[in-house]
Amino acid sequence: MNAPPRYELFALADGEPKLTVDEDTKIPNAATITVNKEDHTLANMLRAQLLLLDYVTFAGYRIPHPLEPRVVIKIQTDGSCTPIQAVQAACDELIRALVVVKNQFSNEVNRATLMREADQGMDGVEGGGYNGF
C-alpha cells in the first residue's frame, strides 16, 4: 500500500544529484561520496577496485537503509592523490577490465560457434522457436 513506485530504484528524481561529495574536516585526505539510485552492483565493485590502489588507505561502502537506493562510499588516501582522483582511477580501471572481459568472451563465443558449425556441417543454429537478431 505504501510501496514507492519501482522506477524510483534507478530513475533520479527532479533536482536530485547523482553524487554528492563530503570532504572530511577532521581526517586528512578523506571523503564521503553519496551516490543516489545505486546499489551493491556498482558499489561493491568500486570498493574492491579502490582497495587495489596503492595509495588508498581506507575504502568502504554502506547502504544506510535497504529500502532507499542510496550508497555511501568512504575513502581515505595517503595524500599522493585526492579521494576523488582515487575513485576516478578505480572507475577507469574497472572500465578497462570490463572491456578485456567482453573481448575475451566474444572471442570465445566466436570460437565455440565456429566449432559447432563445423561439427554440424553449417546447419545453422539449433532449436529454439526464434532466430535471434
Binding site: 530504484l9 534507478f10 574492491a48 576516478q88 575475451q104 568472451f105
Partner: protein, 340 residues
C-alpha cells in the same frame, strides 16, 4: 615472493566441517608485506580466462577465471535485473467474456516473453509518455471459442467439441504501426515461446484485446528480466592429504557425486572436481576427516545463464557487460562534473 604453491593455496576458500575459512581475498596492497598487489591491466589480461563449456540457443555455461567476486556478482545482478527487454505493459481489453478476469489475463500476458530486439525500441521517459511507433509495439489478441460443426454426435472431449478452447501465446499477432514496417521487417515481433496457456474458454466466449509493449528492466518488474535464471558457483577443489585405505575406497567414492573420484586404478584419484556439489559428506566420517581438505577456488566462477527467449545467451552476457560499463561511465562523468 611466495612460491606458486603458496599463491595457489591463497586462492582457496577452505571448507571445514562446521565453518568456512578465508572467504575474502587477501591480495590487495598492504596485506602481504613486501609483495606488490596493485592492479595492473596487463597482468589482469594475462590471468583472465574465459572458457565456454556449453552453448545452446537457450542456455550458456561458461567459466570466468581471474575476476574478483564483486565483478562476477555485479555481472550476475545486471543479467538478472538491468538488461532491458520488451514486454507487454498495457492491455486494452475490448471484450472478455471468458472465465479469466481482465486483470488476471493482463497479468499473465505481461509475463509472456517476447522475441523483440530491445535495441530497436526506445525506452519511455516516463509512464505517462504518449505511445509512439518508436517506443511501443502493438499486438492483437482476438480469440473466439466457437462450436465445432464437424464434431461427432456424443463427443465428450471439449477440444473436439469446440474450436479455440485454449488461448495460447502463439495467438498473439503483431500489427506494425508507423515506421515499424521497415524497422522490424527482417524479424517480426512475436512471443518467444508459442505454447504458453493464457486462458481456457468454452461456449461462445471471446477475448478481444490490444496489447501495448514497452521496453523496461527487471528492476522495475520481473517480466522484463531476460533470464529464466542466472547463477554462478565457484570451482570446488578436493585435496587428498593422506592415503585412503583400500577397503574404504568405495565408501570414499560414494561420499562424492559419481564421476568425481576414480578408484579403478587401485589408487584414489580426483577425476573431476567440477562435478562435485560440495555436500561435505566426507567430513561427516571420522575416518576421512583428516585425509581430505575441501575448498573452492575464489576467483574461478562457473556461470550458468538460461535465457527466457528475448536474447541469445551469448549476446545477453555481452549486453550485460555493456550495461555495467555504461553505469561506471555515467558515474565517472558525474564525478568529472563535480570536480570541474
Amino acid at each position: 615472493m611466495p612460491s606458486t604453491s603458496e599463491m595457489e593455496a591463497r586462492k582457496l576458500v577452505k571448507l571445514g566441517r562446521e565453518k568456512v575459512h578465508d572467504i575474502s581475498a587477501t591480495d590487495f596492497p598492504g596485506h602481504h608485506p613486501g609483495e606488490s598487489h596493485h592492479w595492473d591491466l596487463e597482468q589482469f589480461k594475462a590471468k583472465l580466462q574465459v572458457h565456454i563449456n556449453s552453448l545452446s540457443s537457450s542456455a550458456i555455461e561458461f567459466d570466468l577465471v581471474g575476476v574478483d567476486a564483486s565483478v562476477a556478482n555485479a555481472l550476475r545482478r545486471i543479467v538478472i535485473a538491468e538488461v532491458p527487454t520488451v514486454a507487454i505493459e498495457t492491455v486494452y481489453i475490448w471484450n472478455n467474456t471468458s472465465i479469466v478476469q481482465d486483470e488476471v489475463l493482463a497479468q499473465r500476458l505481461g509475463l509472456v516473453p517476447l522475441a523483440v530486439d530491445p535495441r530497436k525500441l526506445h525506452k519511455k521517459a516516463s509512464n505517462d509518455e504518449e505511445p509512439t511507433d518508436l517506443n511501443t509495439i502493438v499486438f492483437d489478441l482476438v480469440v473466439e471459442c466457437e462450436k465445432n460443426k464437424e464434431a461427432k454426435k456424443g463427443e465428450t472431449d471439449p477440444s473436439k467439441l469446440w474450436n479455440n478452447t485454449e488461448v495460447l501465446s502463439s495467438m498473439i499477432t503483431f500489427t506494425p504501426k508507423g515506421s515499424q514496417d521497415q524497422t522490424f521487417s527482417s524479424n517480426p515481433p512475436r512471443p518467444a515461446v508459442g505454447g504458453i496457456l493464457l486462458a481456457k474458454m468454452r461456449g461462445s466466449q471471446k477475448i478481444v484485446a490490444e496489447l501495448h509493449c514497452n521496453k523496461g528492466t527487471g528492476k522495475e518488474h520481473a517480466k522484463w528480466s531476460p533470464v529464466a535464471t542466472a547463477s554462478y558457483r565457484l570451482l570446488p577443489t578436493i585435496d587428498l592429504r593422506g592415503p585412503i585405505p583400500l577397503p574404504l575406497h568405495s565408501k570414499f567414492q560414494s561420499c562424492f557425486p559419481p564421476g568425481v573420484i576414480d578408484i579403478s586404478t587401485g589408487h584414489v584419484v580426483v577425476a573431476d572436481p567440477r562435478k562435485d556439489t560440495v555436500s561435505r559428506e566426507v567430513l561427516r566420517h571420522p575416518e576421512f576427516e583428516d585425509l581430505v581438505s575441501l575448498g573452492r577456488v575464489r576467483d574461478h566462477f562457473i556461470f550458468s545463464v538460461e535465457s527466457a527467449g528475448q536474447y541469445f545467451p551469448e549476446q545477453l552476457i555481452v549486453e550485460a557487460v555493456g550495461v555495467l560499463s555504461s553505469k561506471l561511465y555515467a558515474l565517472k562523468l558525474s564525478l568529472n562534473d563535480l570536480v570541474l
